[in-house]
Amino acid sequence: MRVAASRISPLLACLGLLAAWQIAALWLNTDSFPTAWQAIKTVPDILGDRESLLNILDSVRRMAIGLTLAVLISIPLGLAMGRSSRVAAFFNPLLMMVYPVPKAALMPVIMLWLGVGDASKTLVIFLGVSLPVIYHSFQGARAVEEKMLWSGAAMGLSCMQRMFRIVLPAALPEILTGCRTGLVLALITMVTSEMIARQSGAGNILFNAMDMAQYDTVFAMIIILGALGIILDAAFDKLRWRLVRWAEPRQEILLGAA
């Protein structure tokens, strides 16, 4: 019963939000704010159109590449920072400097160097995702119990083995929290970088439609991107649940921007 309720309640929330939108739109009754129903009707048109679909898939591919690279590099760095105070002292201030810089804002600068193509957008996504993953891996590795490491060392595990067989699994719940944040951030950075570079991709469709006053398309794209975010997040949560079922549920703070 409880499980069923927890499954249904997000759906109900979605329906409630859409209903609120519908009522607000009917009440305001302006051309620039279509009703929820009109926007939903436009969704199949966009997904059925070959060019838009290719654009959206391109965006998703860039996002996947950027995310994968970021995860592969950030986790080892974060773990190293968590285990060695020297490494941490070395990288921390630099990361602190970089943290408040909006990564998508580097887009114009990076575009000058790498062009408007895939490379610059993927790089921006990479930069956006890295920081939370590094941060959470760092926190996770730092919280590993010393005793476990001592016993590992006493049993003759080398430094690298300890890293792989003790620190990595122990920090995994925290690392995955970071990856989840990174996933949402990757989507956000993807949309923003395309809004700024305006050459291809989902963000571009969104703003082109807005410039041409096709408000149905604007809101339909918002629905598509929102659904993408929610689906990816839910899928990742399932994966995480499988990987770290043994860990007690931790609090998750979702970071929200890039």
């Binding site: 575009m111 703003f207 918002i222 975010g229 929610i230 970071l255 921007a257």
Partner: protein, 253 residues
Amino acid sequence: MTRHFNAILMGLVPIVLVLALWQALCSFGTAPPSLLPPPGKVFLRLVQQLGNTGFLDDILATLWRLFAGFFIAVVLGVGIGLAAAVSPAVNAVVRPLVQVLAPLPKVALYPALIILFGFDHASKITLVTLDALFPILLSTYYGASMVEQKLVWSALAAGTPRRQILFKVILPAALPSILTGCRIGLVISCIVVFLAEMITSTDGLGHLLVGAARTFQTVDMFVPLITISLLGLMLNGLLFGLRKYLLRGFPEV
């Protein structure tokens, strides 16, 4: 003391290295100055700009949007978070809504916000609020729901009226968690306000960057980026100070 000093010194090394690499790329001619201006020029320009009233107005516009959005997010986030932690009825409504809204890429809503609220401050402030709200709300909620029941009982036993429990026990006990959420929210606000200004704006730091990019003024492109980074550092420092002051009675913060 020396240990602390060493740590700072270690931390300065990579920053200096980055600057040196930047300078080297320029002076050995690997990167043409039109693509990567030398760091000296950029910092000189930054200092010049700080005396320029137009530039200061842009900073003020950005800060005003940042703070307005952030404060609304703090008030809403702490309020809703506390309410959800205390009342099961509110929780039943808020929880599914947050589950749906938190992973939503909020920037995608920006065009809708422009259509609804216009190009001016309102749409940007709303976007900042939306983005900063969820980390603050979630950490308030977790902080408040982790408060030890014994504390509430002892306060009740000591004669605290029921309605004051919220402000006298739960809010202070949840404070560390709330402040962590605020810190994340603040960084996010910095980022979002800049992005919103880059996408559509007529003033603010983000607009400066876009304007410079359109006219290929590379030096002027770096100035707003460095400014927002420094602003973020300063705001973070201020919040850290506030945290230290507010949490002076707490162990290990």
